[in-house]
């Protein structure tokens, strides 16, 4: 039997745990073949976007449906119950 040192055992165990974690935390509709339903829209159909940095959406209370979107130093708040709830479902 291959000798397993305490250090290599810990490394293997943590890698395995990480793999399990990935499998269980990625929302199903983001995984290939998942049950999320929505098909990804090809980028070309969304139209061109010119911003290179990140976009952050913040929802203070999902029940209000208010979504604050931040890009660069700009911020807009709009209401979309469906998107707000969809984002919450994506985290489940």
């Amino acid at each position: 039997m291959k000798q397993v040192s305490r250090r290599t055992f810990l490394r293997q165990a943590s890698l395995g745990a990480a793999a399990v974690g990935v499998a269980t935390t990625v929302p199903s509709f983001l995984r290939p073949g998942g049950q999320g339903g929505a098909k990804a829209t090809p980028a070309a159909q969304l139209g061109k976007v010119s911003h290179d940095g990140p976009l952050v959406a913040h929802i203070d209370d999902v029940n209000t449906g208010e979504i604050t979107v931040m890009v660069g130093t700009r911020q807009v708040t709009y209401r979309n119950d469906e998107v707000a709830r969809g984002l919450l479902r994506a985290t489940e």
């Binding site: 940095g53 952050v56 931040m70 890009v71 660069g72 130093t73």
Partner: protein, 472 residues
Amino acid sequence: MSSHREAPEIAKDPVADNTDLYAFVSPDQPDTVTLIANFIPLQDPAGGPNFYEFGDDVQYEINIDNNGDGDADVSYLFRFTTTVADGKTFLYNTGTITSLTDSTWNRRQHYQVTRVTSSGSKTLGRDLACPPCNVGPLSTPNYQGLASMAVHSLPGGRRVFAGQRAEGFYVDLGAIFDLGDLRPFQTLHIGPRPSASGVNATAGVNVHSIAIQVPKEDLTRGGYSGASASDPRSVIGVWAAAKRQRVNLHGDGASTPVGPWVQVSRLGNPLVNEVIIPMGEKDKWNGQAPNSEARYLSSYEHPELAGLLPVLYPDAFPNLKALDSKGSARADLVAILLTGLPAGVIPGFQNYTGKTQADMLRLNLAVAPSASPSLLGLLGNDAAGFPNGRRVFDDVTSIELRAVAGATYALIDKSYQPDPAASLIYDVTDPSKGTPASLAAIGMNYLDVFPYLGTPSDGFDTPSTTPTSSGV
């Protein structure tokens, strides 16, 4: 401290922590005003290899209200950019730094200055070099020379400097936060201690300063020259602020800010958020505009410290105790800190900005610099000092201690007799016997020229720990 680590949240964010604000008519250029905002408190000069620097992700501001509404009419905005020449070395510098362009200086900062008014914004300077930190005699042997190279001329007769300086604020931190152990009444404390000299806790520590010197007309309403001290246009209100973007995304060894600028630090008068504003409000206070001070009015009218002094020193402040017991609102403190002093309170002087209550450093820029300044400023009959603006050497701790102790209440109630102790109390060194030059004895050194705050202590000669004994 003046405003060093004064609120729980900003204490965790030193790069954005506004520690002191100064505004004064430049003594060597009396047609100009110098504004200085300090950040990054209590720097250990030896703190390498990642020496102190401004935040690339922070917007630093010096704001001026010139019409009394507590809103900014003129703002100077400062944004910094850090560059690393060689990312493969861990060193801040790979040799002696003799100029601001030396290749031996590995990590450096440049900045942009923008002036904003209701008419729009104008970039006054870009790619302006900061000096390095004062590492030590092998790395920065001519630090004064490097600092001089970092004083930049801007259009319109303006000058600017941004970089490390010696701390200008002095305080006996250990004593004042040990249940208000103040001089010269240590033997009268409820827990009496032997009389002892003050210990300046900020001797040898550094800070990062943003200093800008501008013609008076740059600041006043309608470009008024400040010819008359009685003219309301001669009075400006000043505050500094630091802003961060609302979100910071961390990961992969970097952070990416996103979203609108949000104010995380604010400073007008020294010690306000430190001593006047209660713990549970300090962080919120930092995020608000200076003219939203009305919600904290009761903290100014009934400062906690005024009630504590008679408790800590039972025999020293009987009149203050009686005043406090009556529940008298401290209109003197409200005037000094929130509206300025109207004409007629102190003969020949006013720095009144109107009824709007706002925490701003108020400067009547028509008052000429004093040839023999008093560390007690206006309390020392020197109208060129705090609370008329603030000079780098003003003993603001002792001035505010005396004011809170009742020394200024007679300004609004002639029948009130201040306790003799109110005119004697001090923190580190007796300001009535000192001069700016004499503060060298407690480790404070200032310059006679812009940017006025002294040369920062260097890391080699100011070690952070007690040297070990020989052979250890």
